[in-house]
Symmetry: D3
Subunit: 314 residues, 6 copies
């Protein structure tokens, strides 16, 4: 259960309105790596965490902080929009500076939100749950968290360079600091998982004997750059071997004979003429006897018209 205090985690007071910047800040609210994403990502990871104690506590502590970051940014946006030229008419647009500001504003912040923030990014695309990661595997998820905080601090730093309002910069300095801490904590938590013997560097900690033993240490050189093999990844204790000009290991990628009831285009003649697929199917013949029997029935279901077309095609 959650509780709320009306005071912001950190102050969010711009010195003056800046509606163009208010639009850009939306990226930190509802973008793929905005505060809504980390809020929901850590909440779902925390609720689904199967290890009670320090890991779950760290998740829930950070998740709870992030809700407050959405709050700070939403408040900042409302304040940056104070007095914005929301109602300018076509006449007024003739003042080029005013017109430019209107061009750079987010029209939905006025029309839809009445001068407030939206659960969307800086291009108006609504935030969605497909952005977040919560798999139940803590190593996989903490790695995603460290990556998300890196993108978050990167975007914050870019936005920091896009304003000179002291109030906005003060809040972003706090955000930069929090993103530094959160990057550090997830990197440290990854080390801790290994120190505790819960996970090892490759996710998941399983199937190392079952996986293909020939290709679990090769990098396939499929682009014509020649510098790939000079990287540090090809050295050290567990070097990755760079395969230059590697050949495919599989046969031709052919789709099987279609179900006539689905009306996919098919030519029995052409197939019989010795195409790649015909050869591939020959090699596969024995294993499909049972299936073939089943298909005969399906053909009947498809009915007389289909049969007729099949004849025409043959």
């Amino acid at each position: 259960m959650f509780r709320h205090t009306k005071r912001l985690q950190f102050e969010a007071k711009p010195e003056r309105p800046d509606p163009v910047y208010a639009r850009k800040l939306q990226e930190l609210i509802g973008g793929a790596f905005g505060e809504m994403s980390v809020t929901m990502q850590y909440l779902f990871q925390g609720w689904n965490c199967r290890v009670e104690g320090k890991y779950k506590d760290l998740l829930m502590d950070t998740a709870t902080e992030e809700i407050g970051h959405v709050e700070m940014l939403a408040t900042m946006v409302a304040r940056l929009l104070e007095g914005a030229p929301a109602t300018m008419t076509a006449e007024a647009v003739k003042d080029p500076v005013m017109a430019a500001v209107i061009g750079g504003m987010d029209p939905m912040q006025a029309i839809v939100a009445g001068g407030g923030a939206l659960p969307a990014n800086c291009q108006g695309v609504p935030w969605n749950g497909g952005y977040i990661v919560a798999s139940g595997n803590l190593l996989a998820d903490f790695r995603a968290n460290a990556a998300a905080e890196a993108q978050g601090r990167l975007q914050t730093a870019r936005l920091y360079n896009m304003t000179d309002d002291p109030g906005v910069k003060a809040m972003l300095q706090f955000n930069l600091a929090r993103d530094t801490v959160h990057q550090k904590q997830w990197l440290k938590a990854i080390e801790e998982l290994e120190a505790d013997g819960l996970e090892t560097p490759i996710v998941p900690n399983a199937f190392f004997d079952e996986e293909d033993q020939v290709h679990n240490h090769t990098i396939w050189g499929l682009s014509d750059g020649t510098d790939g093999p000079t990287g540090g990844w090809s050295e050290g204790d567990d070097p990755l071997e760079y395969l230059l000009d590697p050949e495919p290991l599989g046969g031709p990628g052919t789709a099987p004979t279609p179900d006539p009831a689905l009306f996919s285009t098919y030519s029995t003649v052409q197939d019989a003429e010795g195409t790649v697929k015909a050869k591939a199917q020959a090699a596969k013949k024995s294993s499909t006897k049972k299936t073939a029997a089943k298909k005969t029935t399906a053909r009947k279901t498809a009915g007389k018209k289909t049969a007729k077309s099949a004849r025409k095609r043959a």
Copy 2:
């Protein structure tokens, strides 16, 4: 520019059809961490890479491989659907096993794709570009890549446990191996970025002096767990301090007086009666003089009706 050979990178031949499993495999094609995602993620990172040489080559080599992974999986899906009961009628559903298979199948694979794979996940949600990460900062992006491959191998391992078809398992063993390599290579490439002096662990490598110096090493304890501070993150050379029961640093999170032309609800009386906002605004008065002047004009634009309502409200 790209070229294509018809042979698959690895064989994709199931021993027998399994339409229920064909649906589940869609997650590896068009899910958030499916092969479409890593294909597009590495392509965009590679195209936008500003460091020629080993990093760009590694990106383009891996990107090019991943297109072939979508190909392997799409071929596998078409083969798993061969002879699937796509046309069963209501009568036939009375056979419980057949009915169950139909219940578990992806109806779009038959109706929309004619017995083939879709650019969507196992619930039919279309793949979208919001899944991918390509920021231009290689450390931020490689961290996202290592995270994506971890999720990918995790999902592959889960799916490996959901089938006993030897042909499917053989292909997944290859995929598991590739996901192992790709996790390793991005982790090593992260080390290489630091070894080359291009990046340091915190992304981006900037604003360390400007960021809030008080809160760039504190974890805020905002959930009632008590184990958070016992983690390794609170120890060592650069320990993170756990703030227990921290107080907010900012004032109340209030939205400013609305623009009357936008018809947000507002009460001048209530505001004057000494609410939190009134007090907050008093403290802020000096900085908003210029804005206030601008707003007067805006009120006039909104016209007589609005003025009337404003009076009624007062």
Copy 3:
């Protein structure tokens, strides 16, 4: 700023696993009227609320409660999935009951979330910010809130009829009660807004003199039902008049001559021949002189090829 306690607002303990039901519960988490929607809806309304005091407090109190509802439901889903047949193979599907359960399960809960809840609805569609309403006008928003809680309680009631697990039913009884309260409170808050003189029944409280005075009290009968005028809406103090077989008030809906640089299909001959559009344009001629001048320039920009095609068309 927010704080979290690890105890759930209400207990969420199913008596036994039920993976098919776990899928259905996703609708209450990430559906259009699930708990993620009301959480975000009330948070954004609260942060953007311009009336300090009881309205903002009611919003923030309820918003904070709703975060805890997502938590209860996510926990319930994880518990309903305990021991679910996540790894069943094709062989096992031959047991019809097992097969049916697998068919009815959400495959992403296993593959993507590792046996936990997702930020998505019961069909796997991710929650998105387009579901929520936060306009800054409290009457408009409270009406949306009362509507959202009605849909929420309706869906909860339907789901209540779809289980007989006492633990699940106990939690849903709590949810039903909360949805009753929340419906009541928003309906009462609407009355309060009017009692306080802040809003009147029609949103927004403006432009009553400017709006079309002929058609601000007519219902247009455009379907052939004859019972429409018998409703109570046609009676009382402020009756709405039912227009039977009404005629359109406007002229033909024609699009103007296209910009040649955009290559929309256009026939100057056909237009000259006296079509509806030609007539409509004649009537409009005087007002477009200035525009015509501007267009001449645009035509030139489009270049010689376009001019040639235009000739050919003529």
Copy 4:
């Protein structure tokens, strides 16, 4: 079945082009509360309406009108774009007013629609079916309708303040009037449902005895505002009681032991050490015996590698 007349319900003739405003009008076409939404919302409600007669007639009459509103707005957008500087080059952007206009235009209206309207909102986000409400419960749906018309009139009023073109304003005056009528009619239809004894104020009209009797009249004070209890909702015949500083009713929100075949991180040691979850599980032991038996089998399915990792973790 539907029929169409080419005349618009109301005239849609701007006095002059205004491409920046043409973008903003998209919100009324394809936004969450635009005309596409109310069209589809009323159509689906009407088709799914189980009460023949006045309610269904009102739905179908209004739905049919709304299709014509999309038509009016789409026509208006095409006319506002007439002669818009769609083809301006980089050179031309040096004229600041022209540049500003281009900055504020919707680039898709030119590139994708050739100077016409799009089925999208003012930020280019396509309209989608997740916006609409059609539950089969008329009270729940009429409440959503009254809310939708309120948002619609609010956005129309905001847009009315953003133009001074007499032709545009004339059309919007008609739209404002229709939104007034539609708000009134749904509010009256809600009263009618109750007068007819079909529904009562809380949706659905069921489970009042079953729902939690302690918490079906309490507002939980979870934010630190103190004005919540002063609202009218705490008074009158059926007052809602404000719980100040309420305690959670449930136990800790813990996720159960994960299925090893899904590779969620888990520590048997840590769990045994007396964490919250261990205690919670102890209390729950009796009810899960049957489940435990089932899980043993699942572990075996997951295979030898998993077993090995499990040992290592222990």
Copy 5:
């Protein structure tokens, strides 16, 4: 399997930066008919193609080319953004030209991609798999391909008119040429399918005897235009007959009695009073006896409260 060469299919060098145009080019990358769409459309069609040989080869050749087109455009965007005023502050916006440029730029290209292209359209909407067509029926799909290339060349031509940069125009001249070829090739491939006897003009080649014989050659005149019957479609060997003022063939579109457990609004009284639905149901009575029996049980499940409300409604 795929291979990549670092050289672009065609040069992509603008003469000078143009950040406003860089935004517009996004439509050709990630719009509905951008290069990502044709890439994925042809890949999925090729992989799912059931006719080995010339058709599959044509698909795979073109698909592979299109990946390289995304590459050309992404490179062009990065170059157009070189030196773009990504970091301009509020002060700088006072220069109207600079401000206008900022207003017209895509803020995500800077904030999210660090000065590169995005997998999104010119309004920032992410590309998604719902755009593509791959049905397995080659005629249906080639028709979609010819349509997609037409839209693609149309958008390219519009964008060609929006720049005067010689480098950009040179690349677009190549793109225009490729779109010409691709339109031609799919139109020719459609002829080839018929020449080979694989398909006939109507898709699919089936059910011509089963389909409604009265209405497989009539155009229903449901709008009040009178020119429809004058088109060439009403002439020739296989003329389509224009039905003027046609009557509906079906009865009233009524929804059946609802399941009480779902709480849809229903009135037994009103239904009995002779509404359209009552009459419709009478006519349908005999066929629903079995269903009715089933429903009785369902009512019991819904429980006593529901029963009570049902009584009240009656």
Copy 6:
């Protein structure tokens, strides 16, 4: 403006309920090529049509018919769901046939729509405006229409094979007939556009002289199939030449030096060492002088920290 009659265009009465089939029918309502798509596609094309007369009339006639098709299908879905086991509990699922039916049903049809149709496809993905095509160029759009009707009839034919209910089959026979007509009419309308001299086969009818003259008749052979050149497209009057093993025409695809204020990874050393990019940039030097000057300023904006990191990197 539109009018509605309550009678369906064709009867929609299933003989018996079939909830599994009701889910599949959703594809024809809200799928990419369902009736909502053609409705909206033809409406927007019609409203944006710049040629008054037969073309616009054909568009509006067909558009108006399609609204009625959504109506028929929505009615059919509600009737197929009559008596569906919406409220089955976990106990009841032990009946395998019942369980299978529940597994195959669309849970949202019960939970969200109360036993009715949804504006979504058969996997629950909401319909969205990104599906439709309306460009203003009639040839491009009619080609898309012919393609859409082909996909529509194909899906209808597949669904026709998935039921044996005489009532459902009767309605689908009508739909198949209408899809036959609509395919024919758009194909004929395409011929008419050419006969009228409005368009020629390649869209748009422009830039034939400007487009690349070398590559406007070549098919690039980029996949290793050898049958591509044997197709009819390489013959006849206007044969397309098949380029085997073609070489790229452009130079390396390199991204320019990044703006330091955006923190993209960059190495001045590595770049100086003679990478491909360094060479490419040398060739481009003269044209970027002006840009370089601008960038110097940008570097200063980025501030001292960045300068420091730049030094470290060097």
